[in-house]
Amino acid sequence: MIEALQFEFMQHALLAGILVSFASGIIGSLIVVNRMVFLAGGIAHTSYGGIGLAVYFGLPIFLGASLFAVGAALLIAALTLKKRHRMDTFIGLIWAVGMAIGVIFVDLTPGYNVDLMSYLFGSILAVSSEDLYFMGVLLALIVVVVTFWYRDILAVSYDSEYANLRGVNVRFFYTLILILSALTVVIAIKVVGLILVIAMLTIPVYIAEKLSNSLFSMMFLSGAIATLFTLIGLWFSYTYDLTSGASIIMVSALSLGAFLLIQKNK
């Protein structure tokens, strides 16, 4: 592994792993405490529509996927703020339609055999410098937003009805959390792929939740745990020539199992 670090693609992979781990640790915490896991899954799959459109129109993949995912997040926010009890139906619908749009546009693209697998399961070894900039800027944005509006985000997440009574703009922060989730999902697709992104957003967070007594420490700890899993997964992937995304998720899942066993026997 150490000798692999001299390759640029490996340096990129490590850096991307760390950036994405912290982004998904922070945003995953918000997704979990707000009970929006299914929602994030919907956005992840919907973003494939954006990938299809980007391929068809020859746009950068990240741009297409980001715009499409943010659009889906806004649509879901508008729908769920109005009809919360039908939320699961809407999400399921948007989830499938987004993927269908993606598949059709990839079909329509002449002479282009898109490597579907790399979007479904991630391609951390093919991270470019532009991808790294995008990831870095997004992580910085997330840190700024979460630090600046920490108390409002905390209030909305813990008890939105009460926050509303105390003059916090619940709609705004709910939508903001969804938009940041959409962007985080897009960068996580590069590392673990859109099918596995949900595990990345939830497993480290679940462990961190049990060990934290504040949302802030949960976010930071989730990021650290996710980084650890990503690096170990990457090592397995490199050493045994396995798909990186799947390796990272398996490392996370096995660690979670061990964590739960230790907790139970304590």
Binding site: F148, Y162, L165, R166, G167
Partner: protein, 261 residues
């Protein structure tokens, strides 16, 4: 001075009439108990006073203004504080949510906000738990924290929705004793199922079941026939008195609306 004044209020969800022709006057330092059957409109009435629901017909004034304008003067303790107990949040952070918008620092919480929250926790006897995770408290302790959160905004009115619904008997008494102390300088409005307990503390009672009937019960001795040495009130009698005007389904001796579904 009238703290809450409601006149000729009616409210409907879709076409279902929930509250009809309600009149109510709450005065300063009153301890008002709102009782009534499930689905009778108690919580709806609270939400109208808080300005969460907007009314169809009639008028509500809170401290001489509209409910929305007076929102910062009302401390609210919502129902079901046992949800979301996994949430990683410290007691002090929950209490600080009670602050109303105003002077706030660029990041985090100001010194005055922390001090104010600690003061509120001290008032409810929970200062030692400030740094504890909220999920590890008992139901009664958590309810005290929620009261502290409401007190954080220095309210003139404290509104509680079923504050003791999931607390053991000792815990319930403690909560009501606390409310009694607070009542020395704050107006208290409580929605509750536990009529016998609450009517020992309340000086006014309103029975809500679409309509509202209202009684001054500050002089307990002459209002109620009591038995036993602890001065418990005879619930049946109480129900007959309060319910006769508004509840025509309670012909049965048993108070049906006390049975939780």
């Amino acid at each position: 001075m009238a703290v809450v004044e409601i006149s000729n209020l009616s409210f409907a969800y879709d076409k279902q009439m929930v509250l009809e022709d309600i009149n109510l006057l709450v005065e300063e330092k009153d301890f008002l108990a709102i009782i009534g059957p499930n689905g009778g409109g108690k919580s709806t009435l609270l939400k109208l006073i808080l300005g969460i629901n907007t009314l169809d017909k009639g008028k509500i004034t809170v401290l001489g203004k509209s409910p929305k304008q007076s929102l910062t003067k009302i401390g609210y303790v919502p129902q079901n504080t046992n949800v979301n107990t996994d949430f990683p949040i410290k007691v002090i952070e929950v209490v600080m949510m009670g602050h109303v918008e105003g002077k706030r620092p660029l990041f985090g919480y100001g010194q005055h906000e922390v001090l104010c929250a600690m003061g509120a926790l001290e008032q409810v006897g929970m200062a030692d738990f400030a740094q504890t995770k909220i999920g590890s408290l008992s139901g009664g302790q958590r309810q005290r924290v929620m009261i502290a959160r409401a007190l954080c905004a220095h309210p003139q009115i404290l509104v509680l929705d079923e504050p003791t619904s999931s607390i053991d008997i000792t815990g319930q008494r403690e909560i009501y004793e606390l409310l009694k102390e607070l009542n020395e300088y704050i107006t208290v409005i409580v929605v509750s199922h536990d009529i016998s307990v609450i009517l020992e503390y309340a000086n006014k009672a309103a029975h809500v079941n679409k309509n509202l009937s209202y009684h001054d019960i500050s002089d307990k001795e002459s209002t109620f026939h009591t038995h036993g040495d602890k001065g418990h009130f005879c619930e049946i009698e109480l129900l007959q008195m309060l319910g006769a005007e508004s509840c025509n389904t309670c012909e049965d001796e048993k108070p049906q609306w006390r049975l939780k579904p």
